[in-house]
C-alpha cells in the first residue's frame, strides 16, 4: 500500500503539468482572437483554413461577446478582437477593420401569408403597438414577438437600425439567446416574428421584404436593404506579424469567398454568391 502513494502523486503531477504547461517544449507563433459569438463560428472556419497552409502557427478563437473581446484587446490579453457592433466613443482609440457584412433578416413562419412589412410596421410590432396579425394582414391571432437578449450585438443592431432612439423593444417580447433558438421558435409558431442573421435563414422560416426590398446580395451591396452590420476585427495598434497575416488572409478573395459561402456578404463586387444549396 505505501509504495503506491508516491506513484499516484507522480502521475497526478504529470497530468497537471500537461494541463498547466501546454506547448512549453515548442516555440510557435500564436495569436488569440477573442470576442463576439456571432463572428466566432466564421472566424473558426477561417482559422482552420488558414492553419492548413500555416501549419507552424496557431490561431486561437474564443467567444465571450463583443464587449469582452474589445476589453481583451484593450488590456492586451488578446491581439485581435471580434466585434459585431460598432465601437463606442471610449473605444475609439482602437483600430477597427470591417472584415465582412451581415444582414439581419426579419422572419416569420413559412405559412404566414405576409411577404412584406414596412420599417414602420416592424417598429410598431416590436414596440408592442401592433399586437395582432389582422392589423396588417391575415388571421385574428396575437403576434408572438421574439427578440434577442439584452447585450446581444444582433439586438443592438436591430435596436439602432429599426427601433431608433425613441422606441424600445417591448418587455412582452419573448427572449431567446441565440439566432438558432429564435429560428426554432419562429419555425414552430405560426404567429411568430423574429430577426436573425441572413446567413442562417433556411426553408423552415420565411424572410420578409422590408419596404418592398428583398434581402439579396445585390440589394445589400447597393445599400438598398438597410438592416446590415459590419463584423469587425479590432486591434490595439496597426496589426503586425501573424495577426496581420491572418487579417490579410481574411480580406483576401479566398477568405471572403469562404465567408460568402457561410451566408455573409462581401462588398467585394467581383465575388459572386455560390449557387444556393
Amino acid at each position: 500500500m505505501p509504495a503506491r502513494a508516491p506513484r499516484l502523486i507522480l502521475s497526478l503531477v504529470l497530468c497537471l503539468s500537461q494541463i498547466f504547461l501546454p506547448g512549453c517544449h515548442r516555440n510557435r507563433a500564436e495569436v488569440s482572437v477573442v470576442g463576439s459569438t456571432s463572428v466566432q463560428p466564421f472566424a473558426e472556419a477561417l482559422a482552420e483554413e488558414f492553419m492548413v497552409s500555416h501549419s507552424a502557427e496557431r490561431i486561437f478563437i474564443q467567444g465571450g461577446g463583443s464587449t469582452a473581446g474589445i476589453q481583451a484587446v484593450l488590456t492586451g490579453a488578446a491581439q485581435v478582437g471580434m466585434s459585431s457592433r460598432k465601437l463606442e466613443e471610449s473605444e475609439k482609440e482602437l483600430i477597427s477593420v470591417p472584415i465582412i457584412y451581415d444582414a439581419i433578416a426579419v422572419i416569420v413562419h413559412r405559412t404566414n401569408p405576409l411577404n412584406n412589412l414596412s420599417m414602420d410596421q416592424i417598429r410598431k410590432i416590436y414596440a408592442g403597438k401592433i399586437t395582432r396579425w389582422k392589423e396588417i394582414e391575415g388571421t385574428d391571432r396575437a403576434i408572438t414577438v421574439v427578440t434577442r437578449e439584452e447585450g446581444s450585438g444582433t439586438r443592438e443592431t436591430f435596436q439602432n437600425l429599426v427601433m431608433g432612439k425613441n422606441e424600445e423593444i417591448s418587455l412582452g417580447a419573448l427572449v431567446q439567446d441565440s439566432n438558432g433558438a429564435i429560428r426554432q421558435v419562429v419555425a414552430d409558431d405560426p404567429n411568430a416574428i423574429g430577426f436573425i442573421s441572413l446567413g442562417l435563414v433556411n426553408d423552415r422560416v420565411k424572410a420578409l421584404k422590408i419596404d418592398g426590398i428583398e434581402p439579396t446580395l445585390q440589394n445589400i451591396r447597393a445599400h438598398r436593404y438597410q438592416i446590415v452590420r459590419p463584423f469587425l476585427f479590432v486591434f490595439k495598434s496597426s496589426p503586425q506579424g501573424l495577426a496581420k497575416e491572418f487579417l490579410d488572409y481574411v480580406l483576401s478573395p479566398k477568405g471572403q469567398e469562404l465567408l460568402m459561402q457561410e451566408g455573409l456578404v462581401s462588398m467585394d463586387q467581383s465575388l459572386r454568391k455560390e449557387a444556393q444549396k
Binding site: G64, E150, D177, D188
Partner: protein
C-alpha cells in the same frame, strides 16, 4: 496516537477548504452585486418592473414574480404526484415491484436538465400552443416540467420519512380496526409530516434554482406574467440568458439578481432544516 492526530488535522483541513470555497463564492457574488443595488436603490431594484439594463433601468420584480409562479406551479404538479408515489412505494407495493421502481425514480434525478428542457420544448410547448393558445412557451409548460424534475427529491425524502416511523404506529392503528387507507391518511402521513414538509421545501429549492430547462421553455419575456399561458422570466434564467454579453452595470445587476436568489434559497433551506429538526425532537 500522533498519526491519529495528523489524520484528524488533515480531514479538518479538507472539510474547512470546502466550506471556505462556499464562503469565497458568497463573498464574490456579494462584492460584485451589492454596489449596484445601493446605486439604484434597494426598493427600485426589488420592486421596479422595467428591465432595460443597457438603458440603466434595473427592476427585477417581474423575475421575482416569475420565479414565484413557476415554483408554485411546480409544487401543484409535483407534490400530489410525489406524495402519492411515496405512499405507493412505502405501503402498497410488493417488494419486488418496489425494487424495480425505486431505481427508475432515481434515474429521473440523473437525467440532465437540458433533456427535460428539450422534451418540454418539442412535446409540451406545441401541445399547449395548439390546444390552449398563446406562444406555448409559458408558465404552464415550465411548471409541468419542473414538477417532474422535483419528483425524485419529494419521493425519496418522503418515502424515507415514512419508512423511519416506528412499526407500532401502523400496528396500533390496524389493531384498533382502522383500514389500511385510514392508517395511511390519519396516522402515518401526520406522523411523517415534518419529513414530508422538508422534502417539499427542498423540492422548492430545486425548482427555484433550475435554469437550463427554464431558459428553453419559459420564453424569457421580462414582463409581469398575466396568466399561466404567458411567458415569464425567473431569477435564474435572467442570469443565465444575459450573462454572455453583459458588462459593467448590467453584469453587476446579474450578480445582484444572484444575491436575491441566494437569500431566498438560504431562507428555504434553513426552513427545511428547522422543520426536520422539530420533527425529530
Amino acid at each position: 496516537m500522533n498519526r491519529e492526530k495528523l489524520l484528524e488535522r488533515g480531514f479538518l483541513l479538507v472539510a474547512l477548504s470546502s466550506i471556505s470555497i462556499l464562503a469565497l463564492i458568497a463573498f464574490f457574488i456579494f462584492e460584485e452585486g451589492l454596489p449596484l443595488v445601493w446605486k439604484v436603490g434597494l426598493k427600485t431594484f426589488l420592486l421596479g418592473d422595467r428591465w432595460f439594463p443597457s438603458k440603466g433601468s434595473f427592476g427585477i420584480f417581474p423575475m421575482i414574480v416569475g420565479s414565484f409562479w413557476v415554483t408554485l406551479g411546480a409544487l401543484v404538479v409535483g407534490v400530489p404526484l410525489g406524495l402519492a408515489c411515496a405512499i405507493f412505494l412505502c405501503e402498497l407495493t410488493p417488494t419486488k415491484v418496489g425494487m424495480v421502481l425505486r431505481p427508475m425514480i432515481q434515474l429521473l434525478a440523473a437525467i440532465p436538465s437540458v433533456i427535460y428542457g428539450f422534451w418540454g420544448l418539442i412535446v409540451l410547448v406545441p401541445l399547449i400552443r395548439n390546444h390552449l393558445g398563446g406562444p406555448g412557451l409559458s408558465i404552464l409548460a415550465g411548471s409541468f416540467v419542473l414538477g417532474i424534475m422535483i419528483l425524485p427529491t419529494i419521493i425519496s425524502i418522503s418515502e424515507d420519512s415514512l419508512r423511519a416511523l416506528p412499526r407500532i404506529y401502523k400496528e396500533g392503528a390496524l389493531s384498533l380496526g382502522a383500514t389500511h387507507w385510514q392508517t395511511i391518511w390519519r396516522v402515518l402521513l401526520p406522523a411523517a409530516r415534518s419529513g414530508i414538509v422538508a422534502s417539499i421545501i427542498l423540492g422548492m429549492g430545486r425548482a427555484l434554482g433550475e435554469t437550463m430547462a427554464m431558459i428553453m421553455i419559459l420564453g424569457n419575456a421580462a414582463q409581469m406574467p398575466h396568466s399561466i399561458l404567458s411567458s415569464a422570466r425567473t431569477l435564474t434564467t435572467n442570469i443565465g440568458i444575459e450573462m454572455g454579453y453583459a458588462s459593467g452595470d448590467h453584469r453587476a445587476a446579474l450578480f445582484a439578481t444572484g444575491v436575491v436568489l441566494f437569500f431566498i434559497i438560504m431562507g428555504l433551506n434553513s426552513l427545511a432544516l428547522v422543520i426536520s429538526r422539530k420533527g425529530r425532537a
